[in-house]
Every structure is written in C-alpha cells, then in structure tokens.
C-alpha cells in the first residue's frame, strides 16, 4: 500500500486550520497548563509558611537571640511578639493569633553548656497537622544552626553531641521542603495526559460523528495517512504545552532543572506518543465525542491518583502499586522528577522508559485492531 505524503500533509494542514478555528480548544491548549500550574503550584501547599508565632523568653542569652533571629529568617515563622505565662500563650493559640508558641526555659543556654539537655517547649496549633509539620521540622535545624554559630570558634568543642533538638529531618533535593517543587514537575505528566488523550480522542471521533469520515474514506486516502495527519498536529500541541509549562515552572515557581535535557526530551516524546496512542484507542472505541470525553476522564483519574502525583507511590497499598505501574503517568512522573529535581541522566530513567515502551506497544496494538474494525 503506497502512502502519499501529499495526502498526509493535506490532512495535517486541514487539522491545523480546524484547530485554529476552534477557539475553545485553542484556549484549552494554552490556558489549561497555565491554569493548572497556578492552581496546583500555588494553592496545594502542604508546607505552610509565615505562621504567626509567639515567643516566651525566660533566657536572654546569645544562643536564644540567635535562635529567634534564625526563626525570623527562615520565613516559616512570623514572630509576632513575646508572651509571658502559659495562659496567655494558650489563648493566643486558641483564637488563632498564633500558630506556635515557643518557650525558652530559664537558663536554657547554661543548661545546654552543662549538658543537662534542657527542653525547648514548642506548643503548636495542630488543627492542621500538615501545616505545622514543616515548621516544626525546620525548628530543630534552626536551633542547631544557632548553636553552631554561638558555640563556634574556641567553644566549638562544647557543642553537645548529639544536640538536644536534633530531629532527623533530612530533606534531600528539596531542602526547603516546598510542595511546589514536587508538584510542578508532576503536573507536566498530568497536563500532557489530560490534553493529549482528550484532544486526540475527540479529533478522530469528531470526523465520525459529523459524517466527514464517510466522505474521507470514500476518497482514495489511506487510513494511515488519515491517522498520521490527524495525530501529528497534537504532537506539536504537546511541544507547545511543555514549552509553556517549562517556562512557567522554571521562572514563576523556580523549580530547578538539575538533570540532562536529553533524558527529559527522550522521556517526554515517548510519553506524548503513549498518550496519543491512548487517545486513538479511545476514539476507536467511542461512538460520540461525548463518550470520548468521558472515557478520557476515566484515564485521567488513575493518572492523578495512582501515579504518585498526589500521594507518595511507595505509600500506596501493593495492589494499587501494581495498577499504578500500568499507568503511563507513573513512569513519566518519575522521569520528570528524577531529571528535574535529582539531576538524573538517561541511565537513571531507563527502567521507566522501557515501561513506557511496553505500555505503548500494548495500547497501539489494541488501537490498530479496533481501528481496522471500525473502517469496515
């Protein structure tokens, strides 16, 4: 069967014209990534900052002053002032004027020097545990830093070991524990799967639904020419979305890009193709654009819930992990996070790339089978 490039380009050109005329779809292509990025990037924030804090100072030594200034600099804590007495602190926590009350005990510094392990009492408004978790974690670090500074130099050997407040909070690759650094790269996987699957699915069903498919197959055009001509434009859409996304992610959210661009490029092209194949499969199965939309939604849920986008993959139950491994977004999510945040190279993501290839083979063979049936 000879393929005519001229006919393929004719379908391609037609598809671009239609894309340009369909303002809603066009807006979705550009608007959706930006909107999701802003919503997820800014609003989902399990790592609250600028929490109002009150200090009860029963020791005015250099160590305590250093800890307080460290807290101010960290921007987890907004130091509102000082209190005295347990009751005043508790009422401030109750009415929400403070999220934290930090009590430095009398002779705090002296007791540390004597190795008496004094207690630094942090009373937190734990009604939103995830909001204070990060701040509490940061506090231990701040105290340690302040001790290093205060006891540095000739008194350095007096620094207690292990330090009394040292809590093992070790945030690798994201030292500040910002949610957006984690969410934003993952979001690319979600945005691409959402728009790619939906747009391809609808694009092909649209021809059937509007009756234009009948005209199309009555001409000598080959199925492969139609298929390629209709799919390739969406590869460009995927590129545009990724460009928009990277631009916003790297500038607005200051997400790092540590790894290899080549690895990223490889992973993201593969992911786009997988999604297009999935969209094609849906369009072969769906009888109307409405059905195609619904089926696309069906694929988006696992991408959000089972891929490790919202919940840590390792924390999911075993059966959910098995299903999650069949979801393309799972593997692309790992690719993006590994490459962008951990400085990954192609070798680091090879496993996930192969998984994507396997998923692609399964999806496209099913899709081709379905497509042949619908043409007859």
């Amino acid at each position: 069967m000879s393929i005519s490039p001229a006919r393929f380009f004719a379908v391609l050109a037609k598809e671009f014209i239609q894309m340009r005329r369909d303002h809603v779809t066009f807006a979705m292509m550009i608007g959706l990534p930006i909107m999701q990025l802003l919503l997820f990037g800014f609003i989902i924030n399990s790592d609250a900052r600028h929490l109002p804090t009150l200090i009860e100072m029963n020791d005015h030594g250099p160590l305590v002053r250093a800890v307080v200034s460290g807290m101010e600099i960290s921007d987890y804590f907004d130091i509102q002032g000082t209190v005295s007495g347990v009751d005043a602190g508790e009422s401030a926590l109750r009415d929400g004027t403070a999220a934290f009350v930090v009590v430095f005990p009398r002779n705090f510094e002296r007791d540390i020097l004597r190795g008496l392990r004094p207690t630094l009492l942090v009373t937190a408004d734990a009604s939103d545990p995830s909001a204070v978790g990060g701040a509490v974690g940061a506090l231990s670090g701040i105290v340690s830093v302040a001790m290093d500074q205060t006891f540095g130099g000739p008194l350095g050997q007096l620094a207690p070991s292990p330090p009394p407040f040292e809590v093992a909070v070790h945030k690798l690759h994201n030292p500040e524990g910002r949610t957006s650094t984690n969410i934003v790269p993952g979001l690319l996987a979600i945005i691409l799967s959402m728009t790619m699957v939906m747009m391809t699915a609808v694009a092909i069903v649209k021809e059937t639904e509007r009756g234009t498919m009948e005209m199309l197959i009555a001409t000598p055009v080959r199925p492969l020419e139609v298929m390629l001509g209709k799919i390739v434009p969406y590869v460009f859409v995927g590129y545009v979305q990724t460009a928009v996304f990277l631009l916003a992610g790297l500038t607005v959210f200051a997400v790092p890009f540590e790894g290899s661009w080549w690895a990223f490029f490889l992973g993201f092209n593969l992911y786009i193709v997988v999604n297009l194949a999935l969209g094609f499969l849906i369009s072969a199965a769906a009888r109307s654009q409405m059905q195609a939309m619904q089926l696309s939604m069906f694929t988006i849920l696992p991408s959000v819930l089972l891929s490790g986008f919202l919940f840590p993959f390792a924390a999911m139950p075993g059966w959910a992990q098995i299903i999650g491994n069949g979801v393309p977004a799972t593997h692309f999510l790992r690719v993006v996070r590994t490459v962008m945040l951990k400085g990954g190279e192609v070798g680091d993501i090879a496993g996930d790339l192969w998984a994507l290839v396997a998923i692609l083979l399964v999806i496209s063979s099913v899709a081709m089978l379905r497509y042949r049936q619908t043409l007859d």
Binding site: S4, A10, R21, D22, E214, M215, A218, T219, P220
Partner: protein, 312 residues
Amino acid sequence: MTGDRVIDVRGLTKRFGEKTVVDHFDIAVPRGAIYGFLGPNGSGKTTTIRMICGLLIPDEGEGTCLGLDVRREATRIKERVGYMTQKFSYYEDLSIRENLDFVARMYRLDRRRQRVDAALADLGLTDRQNQLAGSLSGGWKQRLALAACLLHEPDLLLLDEPTAGVDPKARRDFWDEIRRLAASGVTVLVSTHYMDEAIQCDFITYIAYGKKLIDGPSAQIPAMVGLVTYRVSGPDITALEAALRQENGVEQVARFGTVLHVSGTDRAGLEGVAARYKEHGTHEWVEKTSELEEAFIYLMAGARDNFSRYAA
C-alpha cells in the same frame, strides 16, 4: 469493462450482527443511465451504495464497478467514483475554498488551483469562497457537496438521497445538473424517497428490507407490478375510503386530493367491487392506467407484509 455495464454486481449481501441489511442484491447499470434506487428508510439503500463504491466489503456476492472488482479493487474504484453522502459530509469549520482544495488534494489532482477556481465559478460562489461551509444554507451545502464530488471528474456518481431537506427550486436545478451530467456520459445511481425524482430516472429498482422487489425501465414499472386502478370521485370520500378498505379484491386505496385511486392485482375481484359500487350511483368509477405512484404505494405495502413474514 463488462459490456457497457458500469455497475454489475450479483448476490451482494451484508450482515451487521444478526441482521441481514442487504440480502442477495443484484444490479446492472448501463453507462450514462440515471438509475433510481428507491425504498423506505432502513431498507439497505445506503449500505448497498457503500458496498458498490468500496466503503464496505460485502459478506457475500461479487461483481464489478467500472470494470473493477468491488472486493479487491476498492481503492481504484474510489478514484473514479463520486460519492455524495446523505448527510452533508464536508468540514463545516473549513471555508468553501478550503473544502474543495482539501478534496482535490485527497485525489492528488493536478492543476488544483485552476480546478478549484473553476468549481467555485460554476457554483457562483467565487465571492463567498472564504465563507465557512457551515454557514451555508441546505441548498447551497448540497450544491457544494455535488461540486466537491465532481472535482475529480468521476465516471460514476453515487448520490445517497441528495435532495433531502432541499427546497423544490433547488431540487429542480439539481436534477437539471444530473441530467446534464448523464448526457455527457456520467452514470448516476441515485437513491430517493421522492416520487417526482423517481420519475426523472431512466431505470428504477425498488428495495425493501434488504431485498430487491422490482427492477426495470421506469416506464415499465407499473405494468411489471400489474396493478388495475380505478379513479373514484364523488361525495363523502372519507367514508367511502374506509368502506373500500374492507372489500376483498381491493388491495390499496390511495387518496389524491378529492379523488381515490383504488387498485388491486386481481382484475376480476376489483371489477366486481367496482360494479357493485357503480350501482349505488353516488360515485363515478373510471378505470385508469396505473402510474408509478400507485405502483410504489403498492410496493411499500407489500414490503411491510414481506417484513412481517420475515420477522415471524
């Protein structure tokens, strides 16, 4: 080419699941003829047309279209057939020009620009070429569709209910165009519901529930059906119509304004009924030649019976 037959198929059968949509259908269409394809909705007309132009592979049957095998040479058939679908099947979100240009590219036509310009000029749409096809009225859409399927100068035109939803003036213009094309040697197979269109055809085949009921030159169709028809006029036609329906020998009563056409295939039976009613003297009974109208109404009724037997 097999003789001068543009379409020559035998035993075409198509099943969708349990349902036989087209059941052993034969047709032979001579070159340059306008062949009318009649039958009620869902009788398998569209499916038959799709099999002839290679859109569907028949489950059974064989034959040629333009001398090419309908089973194996579908792609080559498509290059020489213009198929106008029942529903407007061009892109409503492309302009008139873009649609024509797209179709020209599908057929890989040379001198594309010239051909599209010429088609636009013929249509009288040169001024509106950049208007979106979706904004055209039904009649204009139909003209655009015809122009689009003529771009590649096909030898055979398959028209599937081309004038549905088009006003009478546009329908007349459309048929003038069809006759002009047939005169220039293009063969036309056209499906229709309309009697006035059926009369325009050189040949007629009538299909119901997937089976061919009758096939022949249109002038001979009433004789082939073998109807005897009386024209009955007089007072209180409605009551008479109800009474006649109960009579043996009367197979069909069709009302045309203030007169009834009473028909049957059993001449003796019908004459008996006519003689009895003539005695009342209230109504005038005149035997007339059966026309296509009566023949079709009769065929439709027969098809229903055919189907109820078929379903039982």
